[in-house]
């Protein structure tokens, strides 16, 4: 191994974005801080591509950091790097007059570093740190534009992220205590005997991954962020939860096997329903993420770890592309719309599993995990996905640029196109190593049909909508968050207003009376007769006792 891809590379990959982020704060560079964004994920990309399988350690760091690169990690690491790279380039074109570019760049880099970290971490502490970094730093990405909506979304995001962190901490503590080791592998191995730890961890990761009912931050935060950040959030950051589950789920997850599948499917369908009722393209896309992650959870529940990684990676690329697509569409005038829309539809179709696209491959890969009605349910979810993404594109088109001949700048469309390409193509190369299938399988007629009929069904269902244009009732973004948020803030309010215990009183009640009593006692001792009598009596008593 040469120096560049030596044992230091994983650390360099994590530290490089941080250094860039700090550099962005340098006064002279502040104005052009955004230029660091594309550069930040490059070492990580190199790492994902060129680093051999293995691990590296830094005992002085945290509680003894161990970084490891294995198959699912490498895939997701590469995905993260690519998405952030694309989003970074996109951001350069997206922000004309960026608000607080240095802060944005700084937190972008910090989030990225955390996002990469969760993919690499092999010890609990590092994982926790990275997870926290990605969770909390992303907050600044969410609230970047400073609007009331963004701040509100940010608040929900933060509260839930904290809850997630707390759950994670408890889960990790319990796990470490059960395993008596900080190694993630050891903890995972012992989790089947520690159901509480497992539950906490699943809830914590599920929260990040948009698991129902902890998904509500996602449809709020993703649309609120600037588009490149949304892409990173929905494409890469939610995968932190997925990698967590991949790393920590034990062989035998007990009840959670079923639980994950059920919750996953609820999410898969619930996300569709809730998403269809949205008015904002990015919100719809966010619900789509909830839905897709539901599927991934179900896959994980079914025990197909590597397949889940593959599915998640594909979703990452495609969803990031879709989010960027919304941005591209917004910069596109009527004239360039058709071919842009055509390109934008590709990742949507891919996610829905249209034949020959990457999505079809990953859908095929997860199929063996399910049987019976589950198989049907998973397959049918593609219909929902298709409908949802169609609505997203439709809403995005409505948000296109006003100028008829507006064209997206190269900095916008190039990364977008690149992501689409990766999303469509990568599964072809990886299918064999991440599943039991070969790419040839999806070319079979049966599987082509499997991929096609949900789309046809979707088209069938969509037709009346397109024709009749019924008034779709709107659902607030984040659905459950509205009542829950109200309840939470009421509780907080009550806590703050609890009567304060009064401070201790130094002046004792009745002190004045006590003073008077003492003074009276003193005055009673003063008269000479009394003192004299006492003295005489004491002399007698003492003499008597001494003689005794």
């Amino acid at each position: 191994m040469n120096l560049v891809i030596g044992p230091l590379l994983p650390f360099v990959a994590l530290a490089w974005p941080l250094l860039l982020g700090l550099g962005a704060a340098w006064p002279a560079w502040r104005e052009r801080a955004l230029w660091v964004l594309p550069a930040a994920p490059l070492p990580a990309l190199l790492l994902a591509i060129a680093w051999p399988e293995g691990s590296t350690t830094a005992p002085a760091l945290l509680l003894g950091t161990v970084l490891v690169l294995n198959a699912p990690g490498r895939l997701l690491l590469g995905m993260v790097a690519v998405i952030w790279l694309a989003a970074g380039i996109f951001a350069l074109g997206y922000f004309r007059a960026p608000r607080k570019p240095a802060v944005f760049a700084g937190f972008w880099c910090l989030t990225l570093s955390g996002n990469l970290g969760v993919m690499l971490a092999a010890d609990v502490a590092t994982f926790y740190v990275a997870f926290a970094a990605v969770s909390f730093a992303a907050y600044w990405l969410v609230v970047h534009d400073g609007s009331a909506r963004a701040l509100m979304a940010g608040r929900v995001y933060l509260v839930l992220a904290l809850l997630g962190e707390a759950l994670l901490l408890v889960g990790l503590l319990l796990g470490v205590a059960a395993a008596d080791s900080l190694s993630i592998a050891a903890v995972a191995a012992s989790l089947s005997e520690a159901p509480l730890a497992l539950t906490c961890l699943i809830l914590g990761f599920g929260l990040k991954a948009g698991m129902v009912p902890l998904h509500m931050w996602l449809p709020l935060a993703h649309p609120a962020a600037p588009t490149p950040a949304s892409a990173a959030l929905s494409g890469a950051i939610v995968k932190a939860g997925i990698i967590g589950l991949i790393r920590f789920l034990p062989e035998d997850a007990g009840l959670w096997t079923t639980g994950l599948i059920l919750l996953g499917l609820v999410g898969a369908y619930g996300g569709v329903v809730a998403g269809l009722l949205q008015r904002n393209a990015k919100a719809v896309l966010a619900y789509s993420t909830v839905s897709q992650m539901g599927l991934v959870l179900a896959v994980l529940g079914a025990g197909l770890t590597t397949e889940a990684a593959l599915y998640a990676a594909h979703h990452g690329f495609a969803k990031a592309a879709l989010f960027l697509g919304v941005g591209v569409l917004a910069a596109t005038g009527r004239r360039a719309l058709p071919w842009v829309l055509a390109l934008a539809a590709l990742p949507a179709l891919s996610i829905a599993g249209a034949p020959l696209l990457g999505g079809a491959l990953v859908k095929a890969a997860i199929k063996p995990g399910f049987a019976g009605w589950l198989e049907w349910a998973v397959a049918l979810s593609a219909t929902g996905t298709a409908l949802l993404l169609a609505r997203a594109l439709w809403l995005a088109v409505r948000g296109r640029a006003d100028a008829a001949d507006a064209r997206p700048a190269p900095l916008l469309w190039a990364p977008w196109a690149g992501l689409i390409l990766v999303a469509l193509a990568l599964p072809w190369f990886l299918l064999a190593s991440f599943s039991t299938l070969t790419p040839g399988y999806v070319l079979g007629l049966a599987s082509l049909w499997d991929a096609t009929w949900p789309l046809l069904l979707a088209a069938l269902l969509a037709a009346p909508f397109l024709r009749l244009r019924p008034r779709v009732p709107a659902l607030p973004e984040g659905d459950l968050v509205v009542p829950l948020g109200a309840a939470a803030s009421a509780a907080m309010h009550t806590l703050r207003r609890l009567p304060e215990p009064t401070g201790p009183h130094l002046a004792l009640p009745g002190a004045t009376r006590g003073k008077a009593v003492l003074a009276a006692l003193e005055a009673a001792l003063l008269p000479w007769r009394r003192g004299g009598l006492l003295a005489a009596a004491l002399v007698l008593a003492l003499a008597w006792s001494l003689a005794g």
């Binding site: 003492l518 003193e522 003192g531 002399v539 003492l542 001494l546």
Partner: protein, 493 residues
């Protein structure tokens, strides 16, 4: 040499007092010189005692029982040194108030001889082994003290002096009765000789009389009522002597009675009465101090309380407990406590005198903001407060620690609780003035300036009280010299 060392601490103040009467112009200088000379001699004597053990001289060459014997043991020499320290500083501190400005004045004439005679009486009381001689010394001491109380000449101080006088007369006549009975029964007045004979009923009566007489002179509760107005009414340097030094003389004699003369005679009732009254004094004096609104009265009531601690030595180390392992600790603690109190209380009264001079009155309210105006005096006040509260590191703490340890080791918890409660109450009454000193709001706009050197004097004493706690091993060992029944080497290694 030893003859001179033992006699000069008594003779020098006497001579200086006589000369001060004859040549009152030079009185202040004479007194200050005497103070330091006696201090030096006492220290020298202490070194001799430390090197060679107790030193005894027979005055005029006449041994007891015919003559009077002076003896410097650890206890006596210790008290001698500490009281000389206090006296030396107090005499310097008194100079601005009592030095004659050109023409002889009444107070300027009277103060110096009285102070010096008080000094002589004190030193005699610490050294003498003869009961009747002790009586005369106590009279010299007390009458000088009473005259000092009255030196302001106001109706209040005359009343206080008269009240003091009445108590003092009762105390001395009881003591004299006891001494007379002792001689009648055993034809000797020497404590050492009396300790060797078998004591009977007349001696029991004698001891009861002497004990009560001395207790009254030491202002033990409930015979303390004279003390606060007397000590608070005198001028500050006089208050310092009265509060710090005078009660210690009778207490030392009391110690000698019950640890030298007749340790085995002490009945449980006697120990309980002395300890109990001491305990009540601690609580009662402290509570009353809390209730006062004048600084000097607070300090004076604090003396009532602090003297109460001294009496805890009787139940803790006296009687049958005398042979117990903890008794050395308790016995020494009493002396430590007395030392610490002497230094701290003198410092406190001197500081209070400076505050009074600066503000014009000694009501507590006047103390506002003094921490800024008179930092050194306030610091001295604070340091002495620490010692009086028994907080570490100070002589007061060492004493409290030893007493507490004895109390717990001997299973007499009650006394321990009194000690702890007394410390807390002391904190309450002493932090009231301290708090005010640190209160900027409502501070007096103009103060009479007090020179820095005067503020340093109480600080010296307060520092000595603190240093006594830091270097207490030497004094502890020193106090054991000539201690009767000094078999036990303290509680534990």
């Amino acid at each position: 040499m030893t003859t001179l060392l033992l006699s000069l601490p008594v003779a020098l103040p006497l001579l200086a007092a006589l000369l001060a009467v004859a040549a009152s112009r030079q009185a202040a200088g004479l007194a200050m010189a005497t103070g330091f000379l006696v201090l030096g001699l006492s220290v020298w004597l202490a070194f001799e005692v430390a090197a060679a053990g107790p030193i005894t001289i027979a005055l005029g060459g006449w041994e007891a029982p015919l003559g009077i014997v002076l003896r410097a043991d650890g206890l006596g020499a210790g008290f001698l040194v500490v009281s000389a320290m206090v006296m030396a500083v107090v005499l310097v501190a008194a100079q601005p108030s009592f030095e004659d400005q050109g023409q002889e004045s009444r107070a300027g004439f009277a103060f110096w001889p009285l102070a010096l005679l008080l000094f002589a009486g004190l030193n005699t009381a610490f050294l003498s082994r003869d009961l009747f001689n002790l009586f005369v010394a106590l009279e010299l001491l007390t009458l000088s003290a009473i005259a000092l109380v009255a030196i302001e000449g106001k109706a209040g101080s005359v009343t206080a002096a008269l009240r003091y006088m009445v108590f003092a007369l009762l105390g001395s006549v009881l003591f004299l009765l006891g001494a007379a009975l002792a001689y009648a029964a055993h034809a000797t007045l020497d404590i050492g000789l009396l300790a060797q004979v078998e004591l009977g009923w007349p001696m029991a009566a004698a001891l009861a009389l002497m004990t009560m007489g001395l207790a009254i002179k030491t202002a033990l509760f409930p015979f303390h009522a004279w003390l606060p107005p007397a000590h608070a009414g005198a001028p500050a340097p006089a208050s310092a002597m009265l509060s710090a030094l005078v009660p210690k003389a009778s207490f030392v004699i009391l110690l000698r009675l019950w640890f030298d003369l007749a340790p085995e005679l002490a009945s449980p009732l006697l120990l309980a009465v002395l300890g109990g009254l001491g305990a009540v004094a601690v609580i009662h004096g402290s509570l009353l101090a809390i209730g006062q609104d004048r600084l000097k009265l607070i300090i004076a009531y604090s003396t009532v309380a602090q003297l109460g601690y001294l009496f805890l030595v009787f139940p803790l180390a006296g009687g049958a407990g005398g042979a117990q392992p903890w008794s050395a600790g308790a016995w020494t603690a009493a002396s430590f406590h007395a030392f610490a109190h002497m230094l701290a209380k003198a410092a406190m009264f001197l500081a209070a005198g400076l505050f009074l001079r600066a503000v014009g009155h000694d009501r507590l309210e006047g103390l506002r903001g003094l921490a800024r105006a008179m930092p050194i005096a306030c610091f001295a006040f604070g340091l002495s407060a620490i010692s009086l509260m028994g907080l570490p590191l100070s002589g007061g703490f060492t004493a409290k620690y030893l007493l507490l340890t004895s109390a717990f080791a001997s299973g007499q918890w009650g006394w321990g609780l009194v000690l702890v409660a007394g410390g807390l109450l002391a904190a309450i009454y002493l932090f009231r003035p301290l708090n005010l000193m640190f209160s900027k709001e409502g501070a007096a706009a103009s103060l009479t300036p007090v020179p820095r050197w005067e503020q340093v004097l109480p600080l010296l004493l307060a520092l000595a009280a603190v240093l006594l706690g830091l270097f207490s091993a030497g004094p502890f060992a020193f106090l054991q010299i000539g201690r009767p029944g000094a078999a036990a080497e303290g509680l534990l290694p």
